[in-house]
């Protein structure tokens, strides 16, 4: 087996057991794993965002290789940028199959304005960029949500209660009983959120039925959440079992031994220090 694969297994084992060690109590192994995760994730996302979006789709459209002409102002600026970083701005323009679109200067300016939030005097400029993003996202969301979550779901719950072609009862496929459940559950669930009238009498009873439907839904959510967490635990244990073999130089056993010994030693020292402190307290109070 390659050395890199073995090293990777040792790192993965250390990070997994380091994170699990938090179940015992907060400790330096957990902190190392946690900080490493946050740092690496942030760096990875930044790098990926730059090389998959900014460089090919923004710079690639502003300075495409297709239209490269060193006599134009655009490419004179490009060549200056290229002098500083030929990796981001390779010689002869960026070849990502785009045509030149100078309208992409607008997102570039808005992006730079967002970064200005780091300079207190110019931080107000960041609002323009944020306003664009918020406005665009709201507009985009409004249609999708209305179409799929409102209209689509209304259509889905508008069931025929008296469709006698359906069986009376079925566990999961459409049936008269299931349609009745959908109808009663939807109406009562919605009535629970109707606050313009006090929940008394018929409305009170209906909203109470609505609560039961909501509780069943929350229960199902909890059950699925537990199932998800156990699945992830299975995944980690499967890897730890795999890394405990001779192919990986018994990574799991060694890492487990080191972490458990270190935590055990720290607990012993802590206990010793506590005993000493309590003895000192007793001595000083006797004196």
């Amino acid at each position: 087996m390659e050395f890199s694969a073995i090293l990777g297994a040792w790192v993965a084992t250390f990070l997994t057991i380091g994170i699990f060690s938090y179940l015992y109590k907060d400790n330096p192994f957990y902190k190392v794993a946690e900080h490493l995760f946050v740092g690496v994730s942030a760096g990875y996302l930044l790098s990926l965002g730059f090389w998959t979006q900014l460089q090919p789709n923004l710079f690639g459209r502003l300075f495409p290789a297709k239209h490269y002409d060193p006599d134009t102002i655009t490419y004179t600026i490009y060549n200056v940028l290229s002098f500083f970083s030929s990796t981001i701005f390779p010689e002869g323009g960026i070849d990502k199959g785009h045509d030149q679109h100078l309208t992409y200067l607008i997102p570039l300016v808005l992006g730079v304005m967002m970064l200005l939030s780091l300079i207190p005097r110019l931080s107000w400029m960041a609002r323009w960029g944020i306003a664009y993003v918020v406005g665009m996202a709201a507009g985009l969301k409004a249609y999708g949500y209305l179409n799929s979550n409102v209209l689509g779901q209304i259509k889905g719950t508008a069931v025929n209660l008296f469709d006698f072609n359906l069986p009376i009862f079925s566990l999961s496929s459409p049936s008269i009983f299931n349609n009745l459940i959908i109808f009663v559950g939807t109406i009562c669930g919605l009535l629970y959120f109707y606050f313009s009238k006090e929940h008394k009498g018929l409305l009170g009873k209906a909203s109470k039925i609505g609560i039961y439907f909501l509780m069943i839904s929350f229960g199902a959510s909890f059950g699925f959440a537990v199932m998800g967490r156990i699945s992830l635990l299975i995944g980690r244990f499967t890897d730890l079992i795999k890394f405990s073999g001779s192919d990986y130089s018994y990574a799991t056993f060694w890492v487990l031994l080191i972490i458990v010994s270190a935590l055990g030693y720290a607990a012993y020292q802590e206990k010793d220090a506590d005993t000493l402190a309590s003895t000192d307290n007793v001595d000083s109070s006797t004196k």
Partner: protein, 284 residues
Amino acid sequence: MSRLNKIEDIFLKIGSVDRRWIFIIIAIVVIVPILVPIGLPIRATDTSKKVYDAIEALPKGSNVLLSIEYSPSTKPENHPMTISIMRHLFRNNQKVYITCLWPDGQFMAQDALKQVAEGEFNKIYGEDYVLLGYRPGGEAVVKGIVSNIRKLFSVDARQTKVDDIPMMDGITNFKDFDFLFSASAGYPGTIEWVQYAADPTGVPMSSGVTSIQVNEVMPYVQSGQMVGVLAGMPGAAEYESLINQKGSATSGMDAQSVAHLVIVLFIVLGNISFFIERKRSKKY
């Protein structure tokens, strides 16, 4: 002290046990079935069968968009689904186009392709499958794929121009695909595909989601906006049994079932302890 009181005391002791003992018990009940499989039966649910039937019904050579929206953190749930779906698609000689809404998705896709497309089916890149890769932007990317995929993906994950990829001929927008499968672990993912792609265009879609998402996604399945769903690790195991090729999800299901039984037992014991404590506090 009466016998009932003694029993109640035992329950109270169980109720106040250090939580670290519970962690150890859960670890044991998960590890043991992985090492010593019980082989509990797996029966496919209707929602999983619908996904299988929808893919099985696609004519040979259909264009299938497979979107990977998960990271290593949910690999045990999502990855077996992706592998099984890929096996099914390649077995039926479909053309597979892969996009990723999550940055790590690209590596998950590469891993699955190496195992299935290259290792098991000897499929040719660019003719049988293509990895278009990751683009940041969430729903904006979905909208981009719906309107003009070539504008968004001018190059694939290998930096090859899409114009030079044979299987990209005739593919300009989402309507050129016959089916979409989204392997999703959250936002952006399945819901965004329903809202911005499947619903507005009418292209059928299905999804494999993490357990935690099932309740969120199920209304779309019930209303017919999605064709079935693979729900968490059990969904993946069911699909493995449907395509007759067992994998990591099937082997994880024993541990899953035993762990659930133990958790239910803990909940029952915890509740008994709670009610005894409440009864005693009322008494005194």
